[in-house]
Amino acid sequence: MKEEKTSASGKVVGTLLFVLGFAGAMVLGWVVFPNLLYSQKVQPLNFSHAAHRDNDCDSCHKFRPDGTYAGIPKISNCKECHESAQGSSEAERILVEEYVAKDREIPWLVYARQPDNVFFSHAPHKGKQIECVRCHRDVAKEEKLPPLREDRITGYSMTTMEMTECEKCHAERGASNNCEVCHK
């Protein structure tokens, strides 16, 4: 009888320990680990997409005449309107004093930079009428740039699109998933 009792309580303790270990690992893996893995980097100055709502994406994130994608606008683009301060915010002060006046490019942190071994061209995707928000966050109402969460091991942003995402969309739309489409 004694043995059975011990065995029953042992089982309970064992199960509890198992659950504890399981739950701990889950917390560690799902909550602690991502926070440890990704650093939070702040942009050099805040940019409010919402304040620039009168423009569509293409007017700043434009294509060059040869069809290549210019990505983040250069300081010359900002200068078109911000040669002098357009408001009294801290971001405006940093923009004008640190970058426009000194004619320095802003070292923006890029949320979606692909590795060197990926050949990605925006032009054909744009040509297929794919919306920017299919891959990028919707910035239409965004007033504050989120911090860049950079993977401490790889150096890539947490929001950098992974290959499976590309493949999934290609498969859905009947686009080729051959290696050489993206890895030239």
Binding site: T15, F18, F33, A70
Partner: protein, 787 residues
């Protein structure tokens, strides 16, 4: 235990292990030493390649205006029509090479000691050099000399201007087949310009060793011609006559494997059959050729003509078969084809056209084309037209005052040849063997004679006798390493330069090579260094070179074209080969400034071919009896005036040296001033170079008789030197002949270039051509044994 099991189970259901595994793989792709191209805006900058003389249009991809990432062909350029060779594709490896000379250097220890170079300022370098020049000018300006490989560039004329104004006749060029072609053109047509071939419009091509697809002087143009030959409904037949089965031979319709150096004998054999069978252009020959029939010289002596010489039994198919190793029936077959094809063209060459040919053999090939009527005004052969650039005339020709007492060093010996040309070998020989006057300062520009000059020991010996050796190389090459001073030039992509004509092309061509980006290092354009030296020297030297920048100098030169109001700019793809001699080309530029602006933007200037004229010869005809060869002598042998097979005997006896060694070029190996870059090394087949071991090709018969098998380590010994290599037993080689690739075996640069293989030039023998005095190379007697 249960806790651990739960933790493991739980962990497996979280991203932790999978993400860590994935991240560590991605992390390994991003190690800091992994090269990563700069990101940013990419622009395309058009220019013209000057890495060889081919004149190809290129465009460079530049990131953010300062980092070049790719060189590709410019489709708007009519020479290469968008294609480029492996060398141009590798051009950026020269630009960013670790072996570039970053600032002026002065040797403080023994010559050749890498550790002895001390960095000095440009001011110090130029001051020390101008001080030496001032001393030489007082003591005897003839003691200054220059060796350059610049030929189709205004740098060539600037050097001539500098030396002439300074008072020295000693300007020499690295060898080129252009020199022997120019000699033959001068002797037969009176034009001092190399022959040009209308390859694109030929209907049958008989090539005597021309390396059309093995990296000849204008390889992109030759590849373009091949594309046309094969594309047509009736493809052009190509017959390649060569001793080794090269790439050109393998792509030809017929390959005639021939004993090395006997190509001219075959040409004489074909001419024999054409003449005896009366199967030649008799109308052209009768009206336009002097010396075909027997002729009378200026002294009234009757002399044999080409017709009687070639028709003799010495050039019968049977005799020629014995010389060449071909079958007489095959010779008859090719002769019949060549004679009967309406647009048959005979072309010829010496490997990569960087070696002068035997003058008599050049004349034989001219004669064969003359029989075919190819030198008619509308024929397939022309002489390259002159680009009407502004001439550089010294305001006061000091040279003429000094020249009578101090002629060019190679000519200052008792016996000289009848038609002296670029006498580099004679010059080196004279320095080494006690010259009439010393050479105190030798300047080497864009040339690496210590490596790529066949029988390079002649340069080494001569260099030892020269008090000061100055290199203008952009790279720490074999010659720069031996120098007392290195005044580094900008790399070709960082400077202004120009291209005057395309080798072997019948149309007029001129292009300006603009820098694709700013110079990366503390280098200076050699042209501008010369301008600075001239201004320091003052007097007539300064007034002869008044320009302040090389760009200004090119603007001045281009003014000449604008004044002549000839030719037009090409800024979109055209078929330049469709322009015939005499076709009108309407200028599409307003003045010199407009022309220069357009050229600077990467376009090119062209003009219609001019055809061959014979009005400069004493007979007013094409001279197959070259009267100037025997000028001033009472030659007894009539044959010395005529094209004939005249092999120069290699030294050594056949019994002691039973084999012949022949150097060859492949398009994957640069064998001139530029060393083979790593990109091109990757293209070199394992049968040519494996690791640091170079292979010599030999026929299975030769290998069997010597007990050698594939891959054996062998010792090649020639009358000039010896080297160890590996054996490549291949039927592409002719029995009794060893073939060694040129361009390897550097002793300078960096770990990726030096000591790769052996330098074929160490083993090759040079013989002086009796007509022009230029060094020719065809074969060297050799032995081979297994180690």
């Amino acid at each position: 235990m249960q806790f651990a099991a739960g933790a493991v189970g739980g962990t497996l259901l979280t991203p932790l292990p999978w993400k860590l595994a994935d991240d560590s793989a991605v992390w390994s792709q991003n190690w800091s030493w992994r090269p990563s191209p700069e990101r940013g805006e990419i622009t395309k900058v058009p220019s013209v390649c000057t890495l060889c003389a081919g004149g190809c249009g290129i465009q460079a991809r530049i990131v953010n205006g300062h980092r070049a990432i790719l060189i590709e062909g410019n489709p708007a350029n009519p020479v290469n029509e968008g294609s480029v060779c492996a060398l141009a594709t590798s051009a950026l490896q020269f630009l960013y090479a670790p072996y570039r000379v970053a600032q002026p250097l002065k040797q403080t220890k023994k010559r050749g000691d890498k550790t002895g170079f001390q960095a000095i300022s440009w001011e110090q370098a130029q001051t020390e050099l101008s001080k030496k020049l001032e001393e030489i000018r007082v003591e005897g300006p003839q003691s200054l000399a220059c060796i350059t490989s610049s030929r189709r560039s205004s740098m060539d004329d600037l050097w001539a201007q500098f030396l002439t104004a300074f008072g020295s006749p000693n300007l020499f060029k690295m060898p080129s087949q252009c020199d022997s072609s120019r000699t033959a053109a001068q002797l037969t047509t009176g034009n001092a310009s190399p022959f040009a071939f209308d390859l694109e419009n030929a209907g049958y091509v008989l090539s005597f060793g021309a390396s059309l697809l093995d990296g000849c002087a204008a390889s992109s143009r030759a590849s373009g011609a091949l594309r046309r030959w094969k594309k047509d409904r009736y493809p052009v037949k190509i017959v390649q006559v060569e001793s080794r089965c090269s790439i050109t031979a393998s792509k030809a319709d017929t390959f005639l494997p021939i004993n090395p150096g006997t190509e001219a004998a075959l040409a004489m054999g074909i001419a024999h059959l054409m003449v005896n069978g009366a199967n030649y252009d008799a109308y052209f020959v009768k009206n336009n050729v002097f010396g075909f029939e027997d002729w009378t010289d200026a002294n009234g002596k009757k002399r044999q003509g080409f017709k009687n010489l070639v028709a003799s039994s010495a050039y019968s198919p049977e005799q020629v078969a014995k010389i060449t190793g071909l079958e007489a029936a095959k010779i008859r077959e090719v002769a019949k084809e060549f004679a009967s094809q309406p647009k048959a063209l005979a072309v010829w060459g010496t490997g990569r056209a960087d070696i002068s040919n035997n003058t008599y053999h050049e004349l034989v090939f001219v004669a064969l084309n003359a029989l075919k009527g190819n030198l008619k005004p509308s024929g397939l052969i022309a002489v390259a037209p002159k680009v009407p650039l502004s001439d550089l005339l010294p305001q006061k020709d000091i040279l003429s005052e000094n020249a009578s007492q101090h002629p060019r060093l190679d000519l200052a010996k008792a016996q000289s040849c009848p038609c002296p040309q670029n006498g580099l070998y004679g010059f080196l020989d004279a320095i080494a063997s006690g010259p009439k006057y010393p050479i105190k300062l030798l300047m080497v520009h864009e040339a690496n004679p210590a490596h790529c000059l066949p029988e390079n020991k002649l340069f080494m010996t001569a260099a030892e006798k020269v008090a000061t050796l100055v290199s203008f190389s952009s790279y720490m090459d074999d010659t720069a390493l031996l120098s007392d001073y290195i005044l580094p030039n900008h790399m070709a992509l960082e400077r202004f330069d120009d291209v005057i004509g395309v080798p072997g092309a019948p149309y007029g061509y001129y292009a300006v090579s603009s820098p694709i980006l700013k110079p990366l290092l503390d280098t200076k354009h050699t042209g501008e260094v010369l301008m600075k030296l001239a201004s320091t020297l003052g007097g007539t030297v300064a007034s002869s070179i008044p320009w302040k920048s090389y760009e200004d100098f090119l603007k001045f030169r281009v003014e000449g074209i604008a004044k002549a109001k000839t030719g037009a700019i090409i800024d979109k793809p055209i078929d330049i080969s469709s322009i015939k001699a005499g076709d009108p080309v309407t200028p599409n530029y307003s003045d010199g400034a407009d022309l220069f602006k357009k050229l600077k933007a990467g376009t090119c200037w062209h003009d219609a071919p001019t055809g061959v004229t014979f009005d400069k010869t004493s007979s007013g005809k094409l001279e197959l009896a070259c009267q100037s060869i025997g000028k001033g002598t009472q030659a007894t042998d009539d044959v010395i005036y005529l094209p004939h097979f005249s092999p120069l005997k290699p030294s050594g006896s056949e019994s002691e040296w039973p084999l012949l060694l022949v150097g060859y070029s492949i398009p994957q190996v640069s064998c001139g001033y530029l060393a083979n870059p790593p990109f091109m090394n990757k293209l070199v087949p394992d049968s040519v170079l494996m690791g640091n071991e170079l292979f010599v090709d030999l026929n299975p018969q030769t290998a069997a008789s010597l007990g050698i098998t594939q891959g054996d380590l062998v010792m090649v010994k020639t009358t000039q030197g010896e080297a160890s290599a590996k054996a490549n037993v291949t039927p592409a080689a002719r029995p009794g002949v060893l073939y060694i690739p040129r361009g390897m075996g550097h002793k300078a640069y960096d770990e990726y270039i030096e000591n790769k293989g052996v330098n074929a030039c160490n083993l090759m023998e040079v013989q002086l051509d009796p007509v022009s005095g230029m060094g020719t190379v065809w074969a060297t007697r050799a032995q081979l044994r297994r180690v």
